[in-house]
Amino acid sequence: MTILEFTGVVAIVSFVAGLLGSLTGLGGGVVLVPLLTIFFHVDIRYAIGASLVSVIATSSGAAAAYVKEGFSNIRIGMFLEIATTFGALLGAFLATRIPTSALAVIFGATLLYSAFLSRKPRTEAQRNLPPDPLATRLRMNGSFPDLGGPRSYNVQRVPAGFSLMFGAGALSGLLGIGSGAVKVLAMDQAMRIPFKVSTTTSNFMIGVTAAASAGIYLSRGYIDPGLAMPVMLGVLGGSLLGSRILVKAETKSLRLVFSVVILVLGLQMLYNGFWGKI
């Protein structure tokens, strides 16, 4: 394949990755890493470098729209980001001391179960819970532009969400992937934050987390300009389109897309774990 053909095909694949990444709050890496390594025979280190670029491009590309429209909750994001970054430090410390294959299998199984859980829409009673004292103290409750007009929400179970975010950070330090999935699930399932707010706030957080490790990958020479260029431009286009779709989309369809993507991610984790590829 010539460089021109390679650039074109990778840009198209990246466009799809950016679209799915911005709709689900998972970032483009989930789709990109397996595709680049399996179909384009890209070395895993170049693929990881490209994936890092794709995560930041998804996050920043979609964020402009999400911030202006008032979807992502910066307070929730900043507060939880503390847990994620400390978790990532712990994960990097544990990386040489924990069998990552076993961890990948457990994480994969958890994702399969979560794919099933996250399909269920919330009941009316679950939506109108009274404010939680801790969440109120932390000024996390807010509102977002729902399809029928602005809708307010009360954040629940902050300690559970904070702990899960710590785990998400540790996982990303240990396995290098999948923290976006835990972030969305922690906000959606544990903290009962509306799905669109969960995915867009996760979209904000993954960019910050990825920027923190960008220095390591750049100085180790993982970020190749020839590969990162079509990835960045494609993902950016996809995420801009994704952010427009999310604003108008039904939560039900977004949940469906999300659960399919984390189902695939779960299977990928099980495969990597059982065949010792992680």
Partner: protein, 142 residues
């Protein structure tokens, strides 16, 4: 549009919004958009130079060789841009892209300070410090 901001179901009438000041949201949104568009423009111009010169060479990423130092350090990238290299321009665009989330966190500190929200100024500063610590402690050569 203050009228549209009133929530339909309001369990608590005076709950603060994520950003009470709409201006901060608009400034932040514009800041992000500018950063992203600037980085895309730089990457795209680098891509034109790179593809113009190398379009018909074979693409091979099977073997990891690591990047030469001109694409691994900030002074190296700047030097290769001055030398008129397409890939140097692409790396410069990627550096601008990496800077956008950092700028976003830094601006949020200012935003919370304008709102006189001391608690969140502290939270955001913690995130900013960890972010800069892991960026600068990672061996990246400025």
């Amino acid at each position: 549009m203050p009228a549209a901001q009133a929530p339909l179901r309001q369990p608590h009438p005076f709950i603060p919004q994520p950003w009470r000041d709409r201006r901060i949201e608009v400034i932040l949104g514009n800041l992000l958009r500018t950063g992203v568009l600037l980085s895309a423009a730089v990457v795209l111009s680098g891509a034109c130079v790179y593809l113009h010169r190398h379009a018909h060479e074979p693409a091979d990423y099977r073997v990891f060789r690591g990047e030469p130092s001109e694409f691994r350090t900030i002074p190296g990238v700047i030097q290769s841009v001055i030398n008129g290299r397409g890939r140097g321009l692409i790396q410069l665009g990627l550096l601008i892209l990496i800077a956008t989330p950092i700028a976003r966190v830094a601006f949020s500190v200012v935003g919370f300070a304008i709102e006189r929200d001391r608690m969140y100024v502290a939270f955001t500063l913690i995130v900013l410090v960890i972010l800069l610590y892991s960026l600068l402690g990672s061996g990246i050569r400025l």
